[in-house]
């Protein structure tokens, strides 16, 4: 076989394979197909919440803490507003709690540190597949939300973040279901030291039992809502708007 013919056959084979894969992708990415597949997410959420309403995530010992906890997603927000807060060591930073609440709040870091706190050594599971164990200290979300008083129609808490990632502001949603779970905290310390910028200073969510992308960093505002359809992509989170499941328990 001549070299030219071999090269031609190889190119023809490669382009055939490429168009075959493109055809497969048309099916696997078809919106109706994806919508049907997503029915499994509802099933997962319902079954897992039915089986383990108040189940606690495992807590570990100090000896289990990893020396190199991977910081993922945004590790240094490019936003000028946030960088100004870093420069003044978050002195004027306040967490806004509003939306469907009886008494909107704006809490300083010191006020949050004075609230009922919890320390937990837990395993952080990234959706990519890796895990790291770390210790988190923070205000329990339940009592904090109770201070504001949720209105009965509130279904979700939208966590608005300071960081812009890939051109969009990061945000997440937590169901009211998880607000009073003992391990749902707003963490201001990690491994006994104030939260660093790569890990979400000054305040981040820790809702154990969920994947890393639910653990929103750089918190600015908690907004109680009845529906998140109107917020950004409408899927209930930065990664959710890009196709990830909102449940995030698997």
């Amino acid at each position: 076989m001549t070299l030219a013919r071999r090269a031609w056959l190889k190119a023809a084979g490669a382009s055939l394979a490429a168009s075959f894969l493109a055809g497969c992708d048309k099916i696997t990415e078809n919106p109706d197909v994806v919508k049907a597949l997503s029915s499994a997410e509802v099933l997962n959420r319902r079954v897992q919440r039915l089986l383990g309403r108040g189940a606690l995530a495992r807590e570990f010992t100090r000896a289990d803490i990893t020396p190199n906890f991977k910081a993922n997603g945004t590790i240094n927000p490019p936003d000028a507003e946030y960088q100004a807060l870093v420069a003044e060591n978050f002195a004027s930073w306040k967490l806004v709690v509003d939306g469907l609440v009886e008494r909107p709040l704006a809490l300083s870091l010191d006020q949050i540190k004075a609230l009922p706190a919890r320390t937990q050594i837990t395993r952080h599971d990234c959706v990519e597949g890796w895990s790291c164990i770390g210790e988190w200290t923070g205000a329990r979300l339940g009592p904090l939300i109770d201070m504001a008083g949720l209105k009965p129609e509130a279904r979700h808490i939208v966590l608005h973040c300071a960081d812009t990632l890939g051109g969009a502001k990061y945000y997440e949603t937590l169901d009211v279901f998880d607000v009073h779970h003992p391990q749902t905290i707003l963490a201001y310390a990690m491994n006994g030291a104030p939260l660093t910028v790569p890990h979400g200073a000054p305040l981040r969510l820790r809702a154990e039992r969920y994947l890393g992308y639910k653990q929103a960093k750089y918190l600015m505002r908690l907004e109680a809502v009845a529906s998140f359809d109107h917020i950004r992509g409408g899927q209930g989170g930065y990664w959710e708007d890009q196709g990830y499941d909102r449940y995030g328990g698997i």
Partner: protein, 280 residues
């Protein structure tokens, strides 16, 4: 001289046939979407968490002379696996990726969609296996057709079967009515050990399920161990599939496929002895 006759016997019941094909379809999608998920972090560890410097299995890419090379590390051994693992063709360029485009759903990098496919078919697969095992227990299929008999388990018989298989000689006649001891061992091992372990190790990767069933984490020795065991069991399922395909072809492709569709399987039996005294 009488020649063997072919007769059709009932080989597989309806539930076995239906669950077999649902199982095959589910495993196809689970494997390819699973490799997409693996590609999001193509490294495996043992224990509760990831010690990033010390995976026991990892793939990656590095640049040499302006070209991307794929490498795979197993233990301390490093192999150049360019084109398959670590770096392979996507569209018209070589990119850094774990498994190649033709082995993942979708072909390009898209973890979120891989997860959608995986978790949908995980339900189909687990419910299907549960249905198969439950009906298999109730109907006696597992005990009657898959559990080896005492005489089949005799060491001499097992060695005889291994020797016969190595020479590609398969049971004929009456012996072909039932599974031989190697078939029984392989099928039983897959349906009551391999597939359940694969499901349980998969469940252990869910942080929510770990809170509900803490014993799962202990069973596998940590979430990262579970991820490794999930990968290993999936690899063993692929190995089983390859051997299964070879055996199907060697022992009669169409007869085997027909038996798994219509339930009828042809075996060769000696015809009844010719009557004494021929017809005039």
């Amino acid at each position: 001289m009488s020649r063997p006759q072919k007769i059709l016997v009932r080989r597989h019941g309806a539930v076995v046939r239906v669950t077999h094909w649902i199982n095959a379809i589910s495993l196809f999608f689970l494997l390819l979407s699973g490799l997409q998920i693996f590609n999001a972090h193509p490294a495996l560890y043992f224990g509760q968490q990831s010690h990033f410097g010390q995976p026991w299995f990892a793939t990656g890419a590095y640049e040499r002379g302006g070209q991307l090379r794929g490498v795979t590390m197993i233990g301390r051994q490093v192999f150049d696996t360019t084109g398959f693992l670590g770096a392979s063709q996507e569209g018209h360029v070589i990119v850094s990726r774990g498994f190649p485009a033709w082995l993942t759903i979708p072909s390009h990098r898209f973890l979120a969609l891989g997860r959608r496919w995986h978790f949908f078919f995980a339900w189909v697969f687990a419910l299907n296996l549960t249905l198969y095992l439950a009906t298999g227990l109730i109907s006696g299929h597992l005990r009657r057709d898959l559990a080896p008999t005492k005489s089949q388990l005799a060491p001499g018989h097992v060695l005889h079967e291994i020797w016969a298989h190595m020479r590609l000689k398969f049971p004929k006649g009456e012996e072909a009515r039932r599974y031989n001891v190697l078939q029984k061992g392989a099928y039983l091992g897959v349906v009551i050990v391999l597939l359940p372990v694969m499901i349980l190790s998969g469940m252990t990767m869910s942080p929510s399920l770990d809170a509900i069933f803490p014993f799962l984490v202990d069973l596998f020795g940590g979430r990262q161990s579970a991820r490794s065991i999930h990968f290993i069991t999936a690899s063993l399922v692929v190995l089983f599939f390859l051997v299964h395909m070879v055996m199907v072809v060697l022992s009669g492709t169409w007869n085997n496929i027909r038996s798994m569709i219509t339930g009828r399987y042809a075996i060769e039996v000696e015809p009844p002895a010719a009557p004494v005294g021929d017809a005039p």
